[in-house]
Structure formats: structure tokens, C-alpha cells
């Protein structure tokens, strides 16, 4: 539990650092997905992991194999078919979890899987881990 709290604090701190310049210099763009608010979103999404250090280990392995994906702006739209920021606007995790669940099951059904050191994961699972590793 302590680890989780400290993780959330770190996330909030990082996200705050991202958001401060955006707020000062271009407040109108806060709602635009293209600004680094995706880091904040990534932090929120990564909260699905109760032990984020494990997700980070796997995420780092994934990014070692696919370094071109080491960007929250790249990963988020590829994990979610619709816009997760919409779902997170009111701080609700439930719709987000449902969306992740559907995406993972869909990956398995369509055999969209990849191996990390031999372990077979769905692509969505690995990208979620990659997000956790980036925040």
C-alpha cells in the first residue's frame, strides 16, 4: 500500500510538472490531447497496477524491444480505440477498466500477442506496462 501511495504521489508530481508550463503559456491547449497531458493520463491509466514496479519491469523489457513506442502520446491512442481522457475527466476509473478489459480480451481472441522474454502477453497489456514504465 505504501508503494502505491508513493507511486501516485510521484505520478501527480510528474504530471504537475508537465501541466504547469502548459497552464502558464497556453491554457487553452489543456484540453488538447497533443500536449504532454498524455503523461498525466498515463499516470492515471497506470493505476490499474497495484504493484507498478512489476509493470515497469515488463514495460521496460517491452520498450527495449520496441523503443519507437517509448512515448505516451504514441501509446495511448494505440491502447484505446476511443478517448480515455473523456472517460477520466470525472475521475472515474471504472469505464477505463472496462475499456482495458475489452481491449485485452479482443487481443487474445484475435491473437494479437507478443512475447517478452518468452512470456506471451496481449499487445494491450504490454503497452499498459510500457505506459507504467514511462511515468
Amino acid at each position: 500500500m505504501l508503494g502505491q501511495i508513493s507511486y501516485k504521489r510521484r505520478c501527480l508530481f510528474k504530471a504537475a510538472l508537465c501541466l504547469i508550463p502548459a497552464t502558464i503559456f497556453s491554457p487553452a491547449k489543456l484540453t488538447n490531447k497533443n500536449i504532454r497531458a498524455s503523461d498525466y493520463l498515463a499516470c492515471q491509466i497506470a493505476q490499474v497496477f497495484s504493484r507498478p514496479e512489476s509493470a515497469k519491469v515488463i514495460g521496460r523489457e517491452y520498450l527495449r524491444l520496441w523503443p519507437e513506442e517509448a512515448d505516451t502520446d504514441f501509446l495511448i491512442p494505440r491502447i484505446f480505440s476511443s478517448h480515455p481522457d473523456e472517460l477520466l475527466r470525472y475521475g472515474e476509473m471504472k469505464p477505463l477498466r472496462e475499456m482495458i478489459s475489452a481491449q485485452i480480451l479482443s487481443d487474445f481472441e484475435r491473437h494479437h500477442v507478443l512475447a517478452v522474454r518468452g512470456w506471451i502477453f496481449s499487445q494491450t497489456e504490454l503497452r499498459l506496462c510500457a505506459l507504467a514504465a514511462l511515468v
Binding site: 504493484r51 512489476s54 515488463i58 491473437h111 500477442v113 512475447a115 506471451i120
Partner: protein
């Protein structure tokens, strides 16, 4: 009747109607069909009634291909042959195994699977298998468990009963008046007429030094997938390239079925219904028959991916067998992450607690159908055995298609077991550097070296198992299999031997 060939004087000639070379699964099954008939059959066996080192060492040879167990250990040279260490796995070949598939060169059989139905029935009766146990629905009801819900795989039941044919059928053969078994009789040459079209006699030698010959109307070579081509290649006094080998096909298309530890499943729950799969700590048996079911990649999936047939055998390992070497450093993190994500994907009311007792892990053993490959072959080496005969050189090769199919099968299995919340798969094929993992091996079934084909340019024997080029020489055993498929070998050897016996009965 059993005869000790070491007591036969040199120069003696034995005469009979049918001379069978080799008293293993094929030879015994064939000879048994003639017990009590008015036909004299001589069954020539290289060894005695028990294993002895000197005779066994005649099996040795060299390997220049894929990793392979020592040839001296992969077959047995005494009465009963290799059934003396047969594991006993049995399941008839499927129609699919017999079909020509456009993406697999030289695939398919020149006879239909249904043509073998009556012979399979007789083989099954001979071995005493309860036929209904192959029916999955029957088994599910009997064991009170259902198959695992993997949609891309079909669950196929195998019955396991290692019948030692030398022991089981010894009394019947020994008592027979018309089947004579010559023990310690090593075939050193098939003698032919001047055109190499008719076998006139078989030259026999014992390790004691005496020589004699056997004359017959028909000869049946039933010495196994390695010795059959060896004997043909060694019999080169008239036809220099060896008998039946004008097209250079004897010894080609040698293959074995790869079957090896290819992954490990970290199970998601303790109550996985693995009884049908035989994957529990203790073998699941009904009476004397052990039950082991395998996942076969569906025909549709093979067609879609243009892959070879593959199958998966699960072996659950209990907690006591846990060894650190099974898991790598990543496994702890994988379990944590997948626990988290499965809690998202599984509704609260359907969730099963994660208790990894009593199963610690499940081994995944992958079996593959090898592609018929003319470059994979048995030839003669330059070394000679104690009888002065050249030993064999085995060069087993596989193609890229088997490796691609293996990797795809593991990916599909990984997705399927995760989707069905059975567990998470670590694939050894994906840990290896684009090649076969260190665990790679075959099952020591020697297939294809005198393959069956309608066309003499494509095979050594015809659909009746007669050597194309020779009028009175037939071949029994796995060397005639034109495609390995995923059915089990011994049951097919027996079915084909019974079929051959019927054919020759009709010719006498």
C-alpha cells in the same frame, strides 16, 4: 517354434513360403496373421528373447543432422523389437493426416484413411484397447470433467498401454507349427536374380560366425525405419545403388516427430480440470489403460496459417517438484501484472482465487508434424559393424515451416490460455534465438525411408507396400509412411502389417 540360429550349420538353406525380416511390431503383427494357416512363415530376428549388448550394438551409427539420441538406444534388437520400450501412446491417424496440403510439399498418402478402417479395428483388438475411450464425450462423462475451452485447438484422446509384443504374443508364436522364429539371425544381404527384379534368398549370419540362407516365395522387410533402408542399400551385389533404389529414394525422406518441452504455464487457479489431459500428479487410468489427451491445432487454423499440424501435451507439476530453474527473474513480475489485469477482465462474481497449490506449473510439450524432406536421409557410413556391414549415417533435417508453425502454435496457445483464464505461458521457442530451444528432440520414431507412392519416381513401395522394382519384396513398418502426420506410429504399423498380410494371403 523358436530356433536358435547359432546352431544352424553354415551353408544350410531354409525354405519357406514367406520370410519376414524383423520380429518387432510389424513382423510379429504380420506373422501372427498366418498362425494356423497352411503357409510356412520364417520370422528372422537379429536378437534373442532378451536384450544382449553385442547384438544391440549392431544398431549403432552416426548422426550428422539435428540433435538425436544415440542410434544404439532408439530401437531394440530382440524379440518384440522396439515395442520392448514403447511408451504405448495410441491414437489412429486422422483423415487430415492423409490429405495432400498445397503448402506442404510431398504431403498426403496415396491411400485413403477409410481404407485402413478395418485394419485399424483389428490392430486395436489385437492390442486390447477399449475403443470407446477415444470418444471424448464418453471420457468427459466417465471422468466427470470437461475439456478446457480452447477454441483454436481440438482435444484428442490418446490411450496409453505399452504392449510388449514379444511377451504378449510369444506363446502363440512359439506354439505355432507353421511360424518359425529364427533368433540371433542377422540379415546381411538380399540375394537377387541377375536383373535385380526377384529376391531369391536372404543371407543370414550370426555373431557366432555361422552363415546360412533362407529361400521363400515372398520376402517382407520389417526391420524398422532405419534398418529397412540399410538392408536395401547394403544389398548391392547386382544393383550397385542398392535394391529398390534406381530412383535414389531409398533412405530419403527420413523423419521423426519433434516433441519437446516448449513452454511452461503459470496456472491461474488450483482447480484446473486436467484429468482428461492426464496432466495430474498421478496418471489417470481406467482399468489398465492410461488416458492422456492432447490439444491439436484445428485444421481450420492450420489452413489459415498454412502451417504443419501441431499438438500440445500438458504435464502438471506439483508444488514439490518446483525448481527455481523453471522460472526466470521476470516470472514474479509477470504473475503480479497478470493478476492485476485478470482482476480487471474477470467479473467479481466469477473470480477464482489465485492459489497456486497444488499445481506449481504446467509443462507444455509441443509435437509437430514434420514436412516430408528428401534431403533428410539415412545413408551408409564408412564404419562397419561386427558383421562387417557398413553402419548407418542419419541426417535428420527439418524446414523453416516446422519452426514457424511451432512459434505460431505457442503464440496461439499463449493467447488462448490467457483468454480462458487458465494461466500465462512462457514459450521457450520465443526465448531461443530464432532457432530450436535446447530442449528440442524427436520421439525416436523412424519414418519415411522407403515411402509409399503410386508413382515409382516418388516412392520406394507401391500402395500394397511392394517394392516398385522387385516382384516379391514387400516392406512393413514405419519406413513406408509417406507423411508422418500426428497419429501414433505403432498402431499404424500394426494396421498396415495386417493389411499387408491380407494382401499376401490373397496372392498365395
Amino acid at each position: 517354434m523358436f530356433v536358435d540360429s547359432r546352431n544352424i550349420p553354415t551353408g544350410h538353406n531354409v525354405q519357406c513360403d514367406i520370410c519376414v525380416i524383423g520380429a518387432g511390431a510389424a513382423g510379429i503383427s504380420f506373422a501372427r496373421e498366418f498362425i494356423g494357416k497352411s503357409v510356412n512363415v520364417c520370422l528372422m530376428e537379429s536378437g534373442g528373447l532378451q536384450s544382449d549388448a553385442d547384438t544391440q550394438y549392431l544398431c549403432d551409427g552416426e548422426n550428422t543432422g539435428l540433435p538425436y539420441p544415440p542410434l544404439v538406444a532408439t530401437r531394440l534388437r530382440f524379440f518384440g523389437g522396439t515395442t520392448n520400450h514403447w511408451a504405448g501412446y495410441s491414437r489412429p491417424y486422422s483423415n487430415w493426416d492423409f490429405q495432400k496440403r498445397a503448402w506442404i510439399t510431398d504431403s498426403g498418402w496415396p491411400i485413403s484413411r477409410s481404407e485402413l478402417d478395418p485394419y485399424y479395428d483389428r490392430a486395436i483388438e489385437m492390442l486390447g484397447f477399449p475403443k470407446e475411450y477415444w470418444d471424448l464425450k464418453f471420457l468427459e462423462a466417465k471422468l466427470g470433467e470437461s475439456r478446457l475451452p480452447l477454441t483454436e485447438f481440438v482435444t484428442n484422446v490418446h490411450l496409453v498401454k505399452p504392449v510388449r509384443m514379444g511377451q504378449t504374443f510369444r506363446a502363440a508364436i512359439e506354439k505355432s507349427d507353421n511360424v518359425s522364429t529364427y533368433l540371433y539371425a542377422n540379415v546381411i544381404n538380399l540375394e537377387v536374380d541377375e536383373f535385380a527384379k526377384v529376391i531369391t534368398a536372404v543371407r543370414i549370419a550370426t555373431l557366432s560366425g555361422n552363415h546360412f540362407s533362407v529361400s521363400a516365395k515372398y520376402f517382407v522387410l520389417a526391420a524398422g525405419g532405419i534398418e529397412n533402408p540399410r538392408i536395401l542399400l547394403l544389398s548391392n551385389s547386382v544393383q550397385k545403388e542398392g535394391l529398390g533404389n534406381q530412383k535414389g529414394l531409398v533412405g530419403r525422406y527420413f523423419t521423426d516427430r519433434p516433441e519437446f518441452l516448449s513452454g511452461v504455464i503459470s496456472p491461474s487457479r488450483k482447480d484446473l480440470p486436467l484429468k482428461i489431459y492426464g496432466g495430474t500428479q498421478h496418471p489417470v487410468t481406467i482399468g489398465q489403460t492410461q488416458i492422456v489427451s492432447l490439444f491439436f491445432l484445428s485444421e481450420e487454423s492450420q489452413r489459415k496459417r498454412e502451417s504443419v499440424a501441431s499438438c500440445i501435451r500438458l504435464v502438471a507439476k506439483p508444488v514439490e517438484s518446483h525448481s527455481e530453474s523453471v522460472w526466470d527473474k521476470l516470472s514474479r513480475h509477470v504473475n503480479r501484472v497478470t493478476d492485476d489485469l485478470s482482476h480487471i477482465t474477470t467479473p467479481q462474481d466469477q473470480r477464482i482465487n489465485y492459489v497456486r497449490q497444488p499445481i506449481d506449473h504446467i509443462e507444455v510439450h509441443l509435437g509437430l508434424e514434420p514436412v516430408p524432406n528428401p534431403e533428410s536421409r539415412v545413408t551408409l557410413s564408412n564404419e562397419v559393424d561386427r558383421l562387417g556391414l557398413r553402419r548407418v549415417r542419419v541426417n535428420w533435417q527439418l524446414s523453416e515451416l516446422e519452426l514457424k508453425s511451432a512459434r505460431e502454435t505457442m503464440e496461439i496457445l499463449g493467447a488462448e490460455v490467457a483468454r480462458a483464464n487458465i494461466g500465462r505461458l512462457k514459450s521457450l521457442l520465443h526465448s531461443a534465438d530464432n532457432g530450436w530451444p535446447e530442449t528440442f528432440k524427436g520421439v525416436s520414431h523412424h519414418l519415411g525411408t522407403t515411402r509409399m507412392a503410386d508413382d515409382p519416381t516418388r516412392g520406394v513401395v507401391d500402395t500394397n507396400c511392394k517394392v516398385h522394382e522387385i516382384s516379391n519384396l514387400y516392406i512393413a513398418g514405419s519406413s513406408v509412411f509417406p507423411a508422418a502426420g500426428l497419429g501414433t506410429t505403432t498402431l499404424m504399423i500394426i494396421a498396415l502389417a495386417i493389411r499387408l498380410a491380407d494382401h499376401i494371403k490373397g496372392s498365395l
